[in-house]
């Protein structure tokens, strides 16, 4: 790998563009309008093409205006077709953006002789070459893409800060926003304008596919990590920047391992964003697959532990002999490996002890088990009274509830002496 100044500039440009996309993207994802970002970044193409055909030049101001007009038109048409035409919003988007994009493609194709923007460039971008297109600021050569995306990032930050509260309220509760005097439709079109402007500023350097990825993926990733609006916003910007850096690094290193010279930077930034998404999907501390799996297993172990204590207590109650590991496993219906682990935990906690081959409750375990059985039987009484059901069913319902009952819930269940099966409800013992 050979890192040069150009690479640094590419990462800077990519990061700025990604960050400026992530800001409106967060609001889009929160409002479940992510695909509006997709649609608008496609329809910017005809806007640019028309602006070019009218002015005959690549004047950035004209292109910006063209793109914004078409972006807003897209938002308007999608809503019109959806409400007047009674079509589902996805279909309405699909119709509008494909038709407008096709129109843009034809315009581009017909003007291809005298245009130096082509559809390929629009889709994939040419971030690798963006460095060569420089402007001079204070005597220093700076890539134009850097300036454009920098301005875009700053204006998006300013806009989101100025309308912080408004965006927040309209995203989560449009009717509350209305009662507070904020017009949701104005915020909607402001967001659409932001999206269109960001898309047009970004896509000449990085291409529309990266724009779509950066609108949606960082925000979705952040959404898997946090619940707070402000944190979400900062997280998605950070993720976007990391994705841009990782993406370029990947583009110039990974293909080398297989003997190729490199690959599309824009594409690989999108893939990097996807990679970060997968990481959050699996490992997010709050909503990750792994976290949830661990929680589920923990819960199962706890329930199993309580079940073991319950079985041992009931055996004592019936003055029956103690029980062996395998018998316990069959009685509860757990797998033996899991059972061994659970028993080990219980021994460590000092709740059970082994005599010969059999398991017995310790004093501490007994008082704990007493509380459990009391809860179970009180639930049976309660359920029998309020939701009369089959005796067998009663036991199962109570078995499920006993694991999630807190102390105050237990005391609210009353103080019956016997359960519906005729067994005595034990008193709580102090530990």
């Amino acid at each position: 790998m050979n890192w040069t100044t150009i690479d640094t500039w590419i990462v800077f440009m990519g990061a700025m563009c990604a960050a400026s996309c992530a800001i409106p993207g967060t609001v889009l994802v929160l409002r479940r309008m992510s695909l509006m970002g997709d649609a608008i970044s496609h329809t910017v193409l005809p806007g640019i093409a028309v602006a070019f055909l009218i002015t005959g030049s690549r004047d950035p101001a004209a292109m910006l205006i063209g793109a914004v007009v078409v972006g807003l038109l897209t938002a308007f048409l999608v809503q019109t077709i959806q409400s007047l035409g009674k079509v589902e919003v996805g279909a309405s988007m699909g119709i509008v953006f494909t038709v407008l994009f096709a129109f843009g493609l034809i315009l581009m194709r017909r003007a291809v002789d005298h245009v130096d923007i082509d559809p390929d460039c629009v889709l994939y971008g040419a971030i690798e070459l963006a460095w060569f297109d420089q402007v001079h600021i204070a005597g220093m050569g700076v890539p134009r893409g850097f300036v454009v995306n920098g301005v875009m990032l700053i204006s998006n930050i300013v806009l989101i800060l100025v309308f912080y509260k408004e965006f927040k309220i309209t995203s989560f509760d449009p009717s509350l926003a209305k009662t507070q005097g904020i017009r949701p439709s104005i915020m909607h079109y402001l967001l659409m304008t932001m999206t269109a402007v960001t898309a047009v500023a970004a896509f000449e350097t990085v291409g529309s596919i990266l724009v779509v990825a950066m609108f949606i993926v960082p925000a979705a990733t952040a959404y898997l990590i946090s619940d707070k609006y402000g944190v979400l916003m900062c997280l998605s910007v950070a993720i976007a920047i990391i994705a841009a850096a990782l993406g370029h690094l990947g583009a110039i290193t990974i293909p080398l391992w297989f003997g190729f010279s490199g690959t599309s930077t824009a594409g690989s930034m999108a893939v990097a964003a996807g990679f970060l998404f997968v990481v959050a999907w699996i490992g997010s501390p709050k909503y990750g697959l792994l976290t949830r799996a661990v929680h589920r297993i923990e819960l199962r172990v706890r329930i199993l532990r309580e079940d073991v204590l319950g079985v041992l207590w009931r055996l004592e109650e019936r003055k029956q002999v103690a029980i062996q590991s395998m018998q316990l496993a069959t009685a509860i219906g757990a797998n033996p490996l899991m059972m061994r682990f659970v028993l080990l935990r219980l021994v460590n906690q000092g709740r059970i002890a082994k005599f010969g081959k059999c398991w017995l409750l310790t004093d501490q375990g007994r008082s704990f088990a007493t509380t459990l059985v009391r809860t179970h039987r009180l639930w049976e009484v309660y359920l029998d009274k309020h939701f009369p059901q089959d005796q067998h069913q009663l036991h199962h319902s109570a078995s499920r509830l006993e694991h999630v009952t807190t102390e105050s819930m237990q005391s609210a269940l009353g103080d019956a002496r016997t359960d519906p099966h005729g067994s005595i409800v034990p008193e709580n013992e102090d530990v």
């Binding site: 699909g94 038709v99 315009l107 594409g267």
Partner: protein
């Protein structure tokens, strides 16, 4: 959209009549292949797209078509690595199909195992897999043997390079989709309209969904070559969405969608054969869009104009009934059928001019007649109609007072909205329920309602 054409008119060279005839009669081998292939595709996409639209999965198909790109690149690499040239269309399409399925599975996985909704899941899969595809394409272009230059054609389509075998593949797919649609029409319809009912009937919703999405994947994959993956979704949903404006019945909707798809394909292929530098895929999509706009405005079922007309005629009827009721209420007070405009104006918050205009319309209908510049008279025909309207109004008012516990001072407005839509059966029921006489009295003083 028409504005755009005028922009490019300068460079547009119109084809000669001879050329047109050659293309329209399919004399050229190349045109024949493209036209037939695209028509078959249009019909197949229209058919399966109808179910896709009704199942509200339109944009899933978009993600699906974008997700095929890495599949195409990988298929190319595998074929080259196995010593081939990497250009076998069937091989590439198999790669596309596999990745299309992966895309759908990923969307489902994200939707079911995270708190993200459909839109984000679709967006993520679409953009990330497409980005991956771009990376792989770039790498594929460096392959020592084989040429990857044609692979990019799948992005925007390259119908012009179609050969007879491709057209045959498209025709084959069209036949498969047609047969599958005919065989599963009832089940798929049920799936789209009432998922629960269909599962109660013993149809596995999951299985039907898999069948539907596989058919969609097949059509999308085949469409890649002619319209390209960015626009493939248009072929699926736009004909179906247009057909929706012409019929309520699913069978006729299917037929209409197939015809619209077919027609757009045919016209698109013809136009692109006639006009130089006119890419086939986008022009087909544009034509689909054209049919959509036509259907959206002029459609006989729920079209914009039809709906406007219905609303307009309903408003007209409501206004006529209002004026008749007002006249009835005036005449009731002075027990003959003559009245002045000023008396009617007082009853409702309306303008003198409005009242005069409505009265003139009623004259045309024969409900009232003008006696002198200031006085009007209700005709016998008008009496019958006005009595009916006023009766409906009062019956509903009494019903609201008795059964909905609404204060007599407030019922006027509520009844105002319902009186126009009370059918004869309902009126009969109200009569029985309320034991009202022939001419019920108004439960509140007549006058401008508050």
């Amino acid at each position: 959209m028409t504005g755009g054409h005028s922009l490019s008119d300068a460079s547009l060279t119109l084809p000669s009549l001879e050329q047109c005839i050659r293309v329209l009669t399919l004399e050229d081998y190349n045109t024949r292949v493209v036209v037939l292939g695209v028509m078959a595709l249009g019909a197949a996409a229209g058919l399966i797209g109808t179910f896709l639209l009704l199942r509200k999965r339109a944009l899933t198909a978009d993600a699906l078509s974008h997700a095929t790109l890495p599949g195409i690149a990988i298929a190319f690499m595998v074929m080259v690595a196995m010593g081939g040239e990497g250009k076998s269309l069937v091989g590439l399409l198999i790669g596309a199909f596999v990745f299309g399925c992966i895309g759908i599975l990923l969307i489902l996985a994200i939707r079911h195992t995270t708190r993200l909704k459909d839109d984000a899941a679709i967006g993520i899969v679409l953009s990330v897999l497409f980005g991956l595809g771009l990376c792989l394409l770039r790498i594929a272009s460096e392959f020592p043997s084989g040429s990857a230059s044609g692979l990019g054609g799948f992005i925007f389509g390259k119908a012009a390079s179609m050969v007879a075998s491709d057209a045959l593949v498209m025709a084959g797919v069209a036949v498969v989709v047609l047969v599958a649609t005919c065989m599963l029409c009832k089940e798929l319809t049920l799936l789209c309209f009432d998922e629960e009912f269909s599962s109660v009937q013993g149809w596995s919703v999951l299985l039907l969904d898999i069948v539907l999405m596989s058919l969609v994947t097949v059509v999308t994959v085949v469409a890649l070559q002619s319209v390209g993956l960015v626009l493939a979704v248009a072929m699926l949903i736009i004909p179906a969405a247009s057909a929706k404006y012409w019929t309520r019945r699913i069978t006729s909707m299917l037929i209409a969608a197939a015809i619209i798809g077919c027609l757009s394909g045919w016209l698109g292929a013809v136009v692109s054969a006639l006009v130089p530098r006119m890419p086939t895929g986008p022009i087909i999509v544009l034509l689909c869009g054209f049919w959509f706009v036509i259907s959206f405005i002029f459609g006989s079922n729920d079209g914009l104009l039809v709906r406007q007309f219905l609303r307009w005629s309903l408003n007209k009827r409501i206004a006529r009934q209002h004026i008749l009721r007002a006249v009835w209420e005036v005449c009731e007070q002075h027990t003959d059928s003559e009245f002045g405009v000023h008396e009617v104006v007082r009853l409702r918050s309306w303008h003198t001019r409005t009242v005069k205009r409505l009265l003139r319309k009623s004259v045309a209908k024969g409900y009232v007649a003008r006696k002198s510049p200031t006085t009007w008279r209700m005709t016998e025909k008008g009496r019958v109609e006005a009595r009916r309207v006023a009766r409906n109004h009062r019956l509903w008012e009494i019903y609201l007072i008795n059964y909905a516990d609404i204060a007599p001072t407030h019922v006027d407005r509520d009844a105002d909205m319902i009186e126009h839509v009370l059918g004869p059966e309902l009126v009969e029921k109200l009569e029985k329920l309320l034991v009202a006489g022939d001419e019920p009295k108004s439960p509140h003083p007549i006058g401008a309602s508050g």
